[in-house]
Subunit: 449 residues, 2 copies
């Protein structure tokens, strides 16, 4: 079947998808493998986590996105290992997929710096499922406070903690503050949602530290304007259900969100090459691994320095550029031309802070506040994949901006989850309460569904 | 605080919500308790299950819907029992909520006729979570077939089975046939999704048997036009993973959906009054339970006959009418006026079958095909709760109709779920395969997320 070279791509994120797009309808036979059926527009994930957008608005089936590429097959599967000698990928069920060229773009997750036990108390934000779980916790916190205030006449203070002052942490903190002050304020009667506290902990001396210091400073001020308590030089040393330890102090909180640390997919290590502490593979300038000119690693899994000595940042534009260059280099091989080395082109970066608030940096120019926010808005709508999604997202944003409402305020999850959440929250608030009797609960499990 | 009578409503479905709306800003103090934070527009649930709409488009937070009602408090909680002597509802964590009037509107679920073990193999459709699970199974079935066809060169036939020929069963069967023939057809390369078979089993001698026989017949023909295999007088006697038994025949299938049987919330039994086989409470003509003039049961939990001897149907209009009448009767009590008995007003019924296909019955008039479908469309958009949702839904329908695309084709669920699904499907297809080694999987669990 394959007289043309066979290219296998692992991962349908920005890196893998852009590689596939650049190989579409070229003389190669492409198989893209992902364990999800959908590509996620990650820059807007925090909006799903904060009930502005629905999951379907920022995710599209991968096979739909590239359905016009006749030479690209998409299969749902989990790559678990490699047979490098025989040029094959091994899937979770033992199936083998052979390749002439391999592009590994399986991305990264957040790292808990050796404290994986913190994950259940402090979820991070990388997938649609993560976003829905965060949304559930944030909305549940308000519901539980309302319930306590109504039934008991009092409730514990509403505290939200975000760990990490990078773009994701800032976006989450800002969006939660916005929700508490605006979207939810009129819907709760026993509590004043505006009194919710959002605390952002950042270990270094400024937030958004990939930006110029003046923008970091503006970002901090904009966050504080909407009521976020920004704490610099603050490390979270421990996390337990319902509380975080910063320095010597334990701080009670309803929800903790983790927005720091990176841990590359463990597939890098399976290739038997050197990785950095975060599991990223040290790649050659053409993005291949040492010793295998037909195995490329791109996106958040790759560790490479730019000419100025700075590492290529773990951002979606870098992943897309890597994907496109890899595709070009494979096509160059086929034509007998020379490969090119990767050079990251920084087209600017931006971070949104809240409604009408953002910072942006383009070609040395700096923007902040409303103008930066408008730029952010336009660019994100433009880059969002799929025409229909774009229209739907604009509609939601227009609605959220105009009416200050949120359109996706669902707490989902089955009864068990909700009961666990209730138990967890009640447990942390009044530890003297015994656990709810399982017998009573199971008898009534069909109720209200 | 409460000099005015205190009304407690259990359940935020059509019955409970309409009662709350009719009591809004009246001289009563209302508490609505639901274990979900959202009201679901159930008539469109099947569209979430078939990837047309997103969950957020047919569900709204209950407290948002009635945020203007200053006398209505919404709390998230699970009613598990009653203390009827002391007029109190007991919640799952033991909290008590006292009432002067109680309205129980906790709805119903599907019943498996004593075979609850079938539920995991044949999910029903009552909640957002149910819909997302069905969507996941339907989309996964196509993905698994594509994967098998690509990796092994062959795949088991794609069979979808729907049990029950009422409106929900017909809608699901029609929508799956539509998906297979249209939305998915261009996106799969190794399989022909149009060859998927949808089989609808109905125990009686006609589908949609709450309609006139001529419309049942039209409905059956319309279903068959889009390729659904309708089998009348067919009872499903047993269900096992990947197969259903009808008569003496076991039929292999990828997905089984359960759309028959009703089982009312078990809260009815907790009230210590007589119930029918389905757990519905025999209510008085004013919808109260025998012996307690201050306890009302409405919606799918209530069993009541109309003047013509026919039971009041378990439909959303009936639940809404019951909610409104109950509110009026409580207000009548307060004013010292007489209560009214419930009389169901049949404003017509309709069922949609697929794109441009439906049947409808209004005031003795019968409609079928495109005109019935247009009526269905208009009415459902009109009744959908919340202006913004209406716009978003229309946008999605317009898109789905015009481009024959689906906008919410996400398979969600964490890695475990997907692995279980893969294992389950592979297990049924080739039982000689051993289970995937857990060790390998856990080592790579961070990958691709």
């Amino acid at each position: 079947m394959a007289e043309v070279p066979k290219v296998v791509i692992i991962g349908g994120g920005f890196g893998g998808l852009w590689a596939a797009k650049a190989l579409a309808n070229k003389p190669v036979d492409v198989t893209l493998i992902d364990r999800k059926n959908h590509h996620v527009f990650q820059p807007l994930l925090y909006q799903v986590a904060t009930a502005v957008l629905s999951p379907g608005e920022i995710a599209q089936p991968i096979r739909r996105i590239i359905h016009r590429a006749k030479n690209v097959e998409v299969i749902l599967g989990e790559a678990v290992d490699f047979d490098k000698e025989n040029n094959a990928v091994i899937l979770g069920d033992g199936a083998r997929v052979e390749y002439d060229y391999l592009i590994v773009a399986a991305g990264a997750r957040h790292s808990y710096f050796g404290h994986d036990e913190w994950e259940s108390s402090a979820p991070g934000l990388k997938t649609i499922e993560d976003a829905v779980e965060i949304r559930r916790r944030v909305l549940l916190a308000f519901e539980m406070a309302e319930r306590d205030a109504y039934l008991k006449g009092e409730h514990a203070p509403l505290n939200f903690v975000v760990v990490g002052g990078g773009p994701t942490g800032v976006e989450l903190a800002g969006a939660i503050a916005d929700i508490a002050r605006q979207a939810l304020a009129n819907d709760f009667k026993a509590i004043d949602t505006r009194k919710a506290r959002v605390i952002l902990f950042e270990g270094s001396d400024r937030i958004l530290n990939s930006f110029a210091p003046v923008l970091s400073e503006s970002g901090r001020r904009q966050l504080e304007d909407i009521g976020v308590d920004v704490r610099l030089n603050s490390f979270v040393d421990d996390i337990a259900p319902g509380k975080v330890k910063v320095g010597e102090e334990w701080i009670d909180c309803d929800v903790v969100l983790w927005a720091t640390g990176v841990s590359a997919s463990s597939l890098g290590k399976k290739l038997g090459v050197e990785t950095d502490k975060a599991g990223r593979v040290f790649v050659q300038p053409d993005l291949t691994i040492p010793g295998s000119k037909n195995v490329f690693i791109i996106g958040d899994m790759a560790s490479l320095n730019q000419e100025n000595g700075e590492p290529v940042p773990g951002l979606s534009p870098a992943a897309m550029q890597m994907g496109m260059l890899t595709a070009k280099n494979i096509l160059a091989d086929i034509k007998g031309k020379e490969r090119k080395n990767f050079r990251y082109v920084d087209k600017g970066t931006m971070a949104t802070i809240g409604r009408s608030k953002a910072i942006a940096e383009f070609a040395g120019m700096k923007f902040k506040g409303f103008i930066a926010w408008l730029m952010w808005l336009g660019l994100h709508v433009f880059f969002l994949i799929g025409f229909r999604n774009r229209v739907a997202v604009m509609l939601n944003w227009f609605w959220a901006y105009l009416v200050r409402e949120r359109s996706a305020r669902l707490i989902t999850g089955d009864a068990e989850d909700l009961r666990d959440a209730l138990r967890f929250m009640e447990g942390t608030e009044s530890p003297e309460n015994g656990p709810i009797e399982a017998k009573v609960l199971s008898e009534t499990s069909a109720q209200n569904r």
